[in-house]
Symmetry: C2
Subunit: 232 residues, 2 copies
């Protein structure tokens, strides 16, 4: 006999709440698996399937994909912010800067979902975005210190880190299991290109606002179930 099914009040509420809790945990675990494998374009339906819950339960726990992304990736973004803090603690600012790019790109390579998170933005994923901002402020400091030592080229812009992540995601996604370490070679080339003195000038940075727009658009596409065509 199931005691939770006996009455419509009192102790009955308890199992309902823990069911909800359990479903929430299952959905987050499933989303971690599905996003790591397929990236953020994976549909809410495929996460529900992996979790073994109905689509109604799924949307009751997470009405939007941004909320699910927030729950799944806030910890990881926290670890990312921690990597920035560790880099700032390195007594050699250039070493700190290089080590940070390497570990951030490795985090990207290990998880397609997190790779997407780093090149998309989700304004309604509050915890995630707060941690991203924290990481960003640390990176601006890290870049300033690496320039001050004369080892980082002067024309490096904080938004270039986003471009590096986009390039790295391109290599990680295209090579996958067939050449799982190929990204390391490309990241090493990019790091060498950043060392001062620069070997030449660069086309202008697209700038923070344009990249934010790109990340926002990508986040919205990633949040829609089927990738929408742009017209016609």
């Amino acid at each position: 006999m199931n005691p939770g099914a006996q009455h419509s009040d009192g102790p009955v509420a308890q199992p309902l709440r823990s069911d909800a809790e359990r479903n929430r945990g299952r959905i987050i675990a499933a989303a971690r698996t599905v996003f790591a494998r397929d990236g953020l374009n994976a549909s809410m339906a495929s996460v529900a399937r992996e979790a073994g819950v109905g689509i109604a339960t799924m949307f009751r726990r997470f009405p939007t994909k941004a909320e699910l992304v927030d729950a799944v990736f806030s910890d990881r973004m926290g670890a990312y912010a921690d990597a920035v803090a560790a880099a700032l603690a390195d007594p050699d600012p250039w070493n700190g800067f290089v080590g940070y790019i390497e570990s951030a790109c490795a985090m990207q390579a290990a998880d397609s979902g997190f790779a997407d998170v780093l090149t998309m933005t989700f304004p309604t994923a509050k915890v995630l975005e707060a941690r991203r901002n924290e990481a960003y402020e640390g990176m601006v400091k890290l870049i300033g210190r690496a320039k001050a030592t004369g080892r980082l080229r002067e024309d490096f812009d904080p938004s270039d880190l986003v471009l590096i992540h986009m390039a790295n995601a391109g290599v990680v996604n295209a090579t996958g299991d067939a050449a799982p370490d190929a990204w390391r070679r490309v990241v090493a080339l990019m790091i060498q290109s950043l060392e001062a003195p620069a070997r030449g000038s660069l086309p202008d940075s697209p700038g923070h606002d344009a990249l934010y727009k790109a990340m926002l658009r990508a986040g919205q596409t990633g949040a829609a179930a089927p990738p929408p065509g742009k017209g016609g």
Copy 2:
């Protein structure tokens, strides 16, 4: 009165053949539009829709996506091979090499479908692959000449060009209309990293075979209508 509908033999065959020809042309034009916009993951059904032909007609003209890719991109791959030939004609091998990377990456930025073609392979797309091989042989020569002048780093491998295209595709896809020139900055950084003397060593190249496997897998995924999950 439609003369083509009068008899079941003789002149009847003629309009059928030109219908087939017209449909073929419409499908190729539609595929050019759809692939340029959405990349090679676009479904055969969305190409048929854009062309205004039924799905049966579509598959009668192009039984596989590789055949459609062959028809749509052989010309573009021919232009790509021509860019290699032009680079080989430059009296300064390093200039030729740099100019070639810039124009190849620009071709990629202009067309999402062609961007995919450069990082995927389709063994059954005979004309396309013949032109790719032609381009590849030219690139190997170009690289050898650029190294011989001492301007290109010694550890550069022909397969690194594929990695550069993968990285560029990552930037192009992620920034899109929001920052349409962002890829130029990343490509400029990558080119500067290739100039000798190298600023450091590099992790080993994944090598030709592993990259071919990655391109083959990507081509197969691109050829499937819905992107398949890898399991459970």
